[in-house]
Subunit: 249 residues, 2 copies
DNA sequence: AAAATAATTGCAAAAAACTGCAAAGACAAA
DNA sequence: TTTGTCTTTGCAGTTTTTTGCAATTATTTT
């Protein structure tokens, strides 16, 4: 087998599985490990993949990539939170749910903006307490050890007694067909209650989460009134969402 | 499994749960703790997460809220909290109110003690969330800006729906004749509700507060079942209280 | 203060990478 | 076809990296 052919096979495998073991490929193609090692070295130099000890991984699967992604993600989240903030007016009664993007929103709220703000998140509550103008209410309930947010029947019950001008929520996954979905069922139940109690529900989601889904459904995409991503509302990636009855920001 | 793959798994878990235990990850991936420890060390050096004793936490997940800012009389408070802890048994449903002494109690609760614990204090809640065996519930309500505890009708309403085996409260002032008093009316109202909902109410108070009083009354001294100070129950200073129908500890 | 957990260190076995080399193969010019 | 040159490949020996274990030390918990 020619070198070029082997290279093609290797790249194929990497793209298919995101990672390969040199030993697997050597056996599969039927050449020595040394040869494959040299092939992978070349492909690495050509920036076709990243060579690691024992194998190779697809570009974009490296930790450098995730590191950069996270740095950008924070900027994106601030961008999203800034747009969300523009919706809030003096005198509003709002709810801010948990999650890193929602926490950014809480951080961005100006000291003197006079609003009433409910939250289910300990972190958001602590942040809001530093804002002079904000009247802070915590929705009690069982606290999730992981996310430090209120869940359970108690929280839901309280939520349903209140009407929010706006509620700001994140989600684990969004998909145009599957709607908002989560990894965790209890989280879903709380979010359902939030949506029910809100005049307008605003979804804060980085574009990375678009077109992904998981086990438990919070709601259809149309149950959301406004969706905010870090992208421009005219962005190609949002094309499908523009056809829906939601406001993009 | 390639090292890079393990790294990805670890980062994923940290992002999902905010914190991980090395032992959990080691078991999940099926390698020794040493290997995971080395992985986490590298990821920490890469600023992908923060390594802590026994595990790792997501960047930006540190708690300043429960740090001891007020080390005044800390020794005494720990002594009080230790005595209070001795009252709690497996399976109990208790309430821990706010204040530095109550926070000490929360800190002292052993990891594996299995109890259900309610609280009105953000700091106490955050502390309790670190305890494996504790089911944590937060009593929602309006949050006081300075004390970071729930107050208001909402909190009171929730409290009255529950029965606690023990509730642990502090007070601004105690006097044998005037009972428990406070500077703040809303705090009094919440404490009244707590006392009403508790089979046994335990007062945690440093002796310095004895024989002092203020404007708003929570209850008579007899409404308290147990009073804990840093002093020996036989101490002269507690002579008056011994004549009352309260247990001293 | 004692017990339980976790971190560190040094070490050894295993796996992988590197090095130099020689045989095999590719290819152009004679 | 043959020859000479250059590249590719596999092999053997050496070095490096990874990993798990055991003994020690440090930290946390009770």
């Amino acid at each position: 087998m020619l070198k070029e052919e082997r290279h093609r096979v290797i790249i194929n495998e990497v793209e298919l599985h995101n990672r390969i073991l040199l030993s697997d490929i050597a056996e599969q193609i039927g050449v020595s490990m040394d040869t494959i090692r040299r092939d992978v070295k070349e492909l690495d130099a050509d920036k076709q993949l990243k060579k690691v000890h024992g194998g190779a991984i697809a570009l974009g699967f490296t930790n450098y990539a995730t590191e950069n992604k996270n740095i950008y993600a924070l900027e994106d989240k601030i961008k999203i939170a800034t747009k969300a903030l523009s919706l809030i007016n003096t005198g509003n009664t709002i709810l801010i749910h948990g999650g890193t993007t929602c926490l950014e929103l809480a951080k961005l709220i100006p000291n003197k903006l006079e609003i009433t703000c409910f939250t289910t998140s300990l972190a958001v509550a602590l942040e809001l307490l530093t804002k002079k103008g904000v009247d802070v209410f915590f929705i009690g309930g069982r606290l999730s050890k992981d996310s430090q947010i209120s869940i359970g029947a108690n929280a839901i019950h309280q939520l349903l007694d209140i009407t929010f001008d706006y509620s700001f929520i994140g989600t684990g996954y969004v998909d145009i067909n599957y709607g908002l979905t989560e990894f965790d069922l209890e989280s879903v139940q709380v979010k359902k209650a939030i949506i029910k109690s809100s005049k307008k529900t605003v979804l804060l989601s980085i574009s990375e989460k678009l077109n992904s889904k998981h086990r438990y459904k919070t709601c259809e995409i149309n149950a959301i009134n406004t969706m905010i991503t870090e992208l421009d509302p005219d962005d190609m990636l949002l094309e499908n969402f523009r056809k829906q009855d939601i406001r993009l920001l």
